[in-house]
């Protein structure tokens, strides 16, 4: 049965987590995402599904609580915004190294430093290139709507457990704060699985289970890395998600993710009204990146404008993807400023058509 509601992005995400059968949430307040923990606390999750919600003493503690719960095979998640996500990076690296499943939500705000509480996309590098130490990858989902915030929450848990890997939902202050109509999926049961990798108490006759990211022998640590890399290749093969608009006959291309893709879509429509054959490619997974989609389109394109609410981060992956086959330029507003379709169109005409 369809359940339609008008909801704020952050609240929708929290509701989706409960419905996805999450076992535990650990978090620390920060604008613009505090509604996640506020919603969960108000929802009396312990009565509703048995889900644990705990306000930790810091983002560092929160991510390490997630480690502990995830190590027991439970569906654990945390959320924060940019400065708090920076604090979580050591823990995220440990989770990736110990190959534990979990979901981390980043409702991005402008930086660097304390920055601003206004929306931004300047954490692309941190999410996609590994904000913590070591060769690891997060699966990164970038919702552009409140509906996608809901859908990706469910998907994130599925992918996290499929690959035993942390999944990041990279939202931003626009999507987190705005209200839209959403269709909620039905409550899923909380699972009681018994994963062999989870520390749930030693089984008689079996060796004890260890959750660790430590491997002191170099050759052994290299093997761990090979295993991780093989997993990432699988993820790249199976999990690329993106959306294309008007790409069939496109001579030019816009690309953008998350909320800037919504604004850019408007700019694309305005350009189409002027008779310019331009499309839009919106990556929904930032890792794995839709490299092949860009590469395949590149031959028919005279240029790509990458629109981001940052100083130019995803553009590096777009350039790597097209590998010089077409020109790629960047347009960005940052520090919490949201671009409007007019200025995007103007930048497109100047940098791509006129450039």
């Amino acid at each position: 049965m369809k359940e339609l509601r008008l909801m704020k992005g952050n609240e929708a995400l929290a509701e989706a987590a409960i419905r996805a059968g999450a076992d535990a949430y650990f978090g620390y307040p920060i604008t613009p995402q505090s509604e996640v923990i506020e919603y969960l606390m108000a929802a009396r999750t312990e009565d509703r599904t048995g889900m644990i919600v705990l306000q930790a003493e810091s983002e560092i503690a929160a991510i390490n609580m997630v480690y502990g719960a995830a190590g027991c095979g439970k569906r654990a998640f945390t959320s924060s915004s940019s400065p708090g996500i920076s604090l979580k990076q050591e823990g995220i690296s440990y989770i990736a190294g110990a190959e534990l499943p979990c979901v981390i939500v980043n409702v991005v705000r402008g930086g660097p430093g304390l920055g601003t509480i206004q929306p931004s996309q300047s954490d692309y590098f941190q999410s996609v290139k590994g904000g913590g130490h070591g060769d690891y990858k997060l699966i990164v989902l970038a919702p552009a709507t409140v509906q996608e915030s809901v859908d990706y929450m469910k998907l994130a848990f599925e992918l996290a457990f499929k690959y035993r890997n942390p999944v990041m939902i990279q939202s931003d202050g626009i999507i987190g704060q705005m209200m839209e109509k959403v269709e909620l999926f039905e409550q899923m049961p909380r699972l009681e699985p018994d994963y062999e990798w989870a520390t749930t108490g030693k089984k008689p006759g079996k060796p004890s289970t260890i959750v660790t990211s430590l491997q002191l022998e170099s050759e052994e640590q290299e093997k761990v890395n090979h295993r991780l890399q093989a997993k990432y290749r699988e993820v790249e093969k199976n999990e690329v998600r993106y959306e294309q608009f008007h790409c069939e006959d496109a001579e030019y291309l816009f690309t953008a993710f998350g909320s800037s893709a919504r604004i850019t879509r408007k700019a694309m429509e305005m350009a189409r009204e002027k008779g310019i054959k331009v499309g839009l490619l919106r990556p929904q997974t930032l890792y794995p990146f839709p490299s092949k989609a860009f590469y395949d389109l590149a031959d028919q394109l005279k240029g790509i404008l990458c629109v981001e609410m940052n100083a130019g981060q995803m553009i590096e992956d777009v350039r790597l993807s097209v590998n010089g086959k077409t020109r790629v330029e960047h347009f960005g507003r940052f520090g919490g400023v949201i671009p409007n379709p007019d200025e995007i169109l103007k930048a497109f005409e100047q940098k791509i058509i006129g450039g």
Binding site: I60, A69, A70, A76, L214
Partner: protein
């Protein structure tokens, strides 16, 4: 000849079944080995091997999971109480313990320690205080004594610039969330027996869901104190115990009344 002696009736001591056969990597004379052993014995005596989940720290005991034959997680430096919180909250019926050094628990992990205790997490925290960073080669710890030399206080710990040694155990005893707080040692048989009793009580209390149990074990570090094991134990008695006096600091309410 020796074979004749190996008979069950001649057995006066045997290795706990909770200790694996792996050779301990600890230095000769280090207290970690004894602390491991008595914790293992307690888990065995309580019959909770299959219901216990341990959390190893970063420090000399980072590989504790090699030695305890129970399910374990290895936490980031200082975060063991947060990891243990995550475990205990999703599996409240299990016995959960952390095993941490003083750098781990009282420096980088101070916030996690205090807040886990303040929330009254129903876990056991075993705190091995050797007054130094053992694993990284003998740097100053928050618990390093005044005037004590380490590789980062080569002329002795100076209060003016380095502050005073922190008494974490007294500190957490102040928090309503802690249920049982005690300080023990494992350098002599009588102390080993007492420390073991304390650990046993602490794990038994976990069933009551009354709050955090915190057991400090004042210990030595012959290698980084640059002493023989015997010298280090004497030095510990003469210098560590006056500042970190042994004994119970907080007893469960009803036991206090007796």
């Amino acid at each position: 000849m020796a074979e004749n002696l190996i008979k069950p009736e001649n057995l006066v001591y045997k290795k706990s079944g909770i200790m694996t056969d792996r050779v301990l990597h600890y230095c000769p004379g280090c207290g970690h080995g004894t602390a491991h052993r008595i914790l293992a014995e307690v888990i065995e005596e309580l019959g909770i091997q299959n219901e216990t989940i341990g959390v190893a720290p970063v420090g000399c005991s980072v590989l504790a999971y090699y030695y305890f034959d129970v399910d374990m997680q290895e936490a980031a430096h200082g975060r063991a109480p947060a990891v243990a919180t995550g475990i205990k909250r999703v599996m409240p019926e299990k016995y959960v313990f952390t095993y941490q050094g003083d750098g781990d628990l009282a420096a980088i992990g101070t916030a996690e320690t205090i807040h886990a205790c303040n929330r009254g997490e129903n876990i056991l925290i075993v705190f091995v205080n050797n007054g130094i960073y053992g694993m990284t080669g003998g740097q100053m710890a928050p618990t390093t004594l005044i005037g004590m030399k380490s590789s980062t206080s080569p002329f002795g710990r100076d209060i003016k610039t380095m502050g005073s040694p922190i008494k974490m155990t007294e500190l957490v005893a102040q928090l309503p969330g802690t249920y049982y707080v005690t300080r023990q040692a494992v350098h002599k048989p009588a102390n080993v027996r007492k420390a073991k009793k304390a650990l046993k009580k602490a794990l038994e209390y976990q069933k009551l869901n009354k709050g955090t149990c915190f057991v400090e074990i004042v210990s030595n570090c012959p290698s980084n104190w640059k002493m023989t094991p015997v010298q280090s134990n004497e030095w510990m008695e003469e210098n560590m115990f006056p500042y970190y006096p042994l004994g119970d600091i907080k007893l469960p309410q009803d036991e206090n009344k007796k």
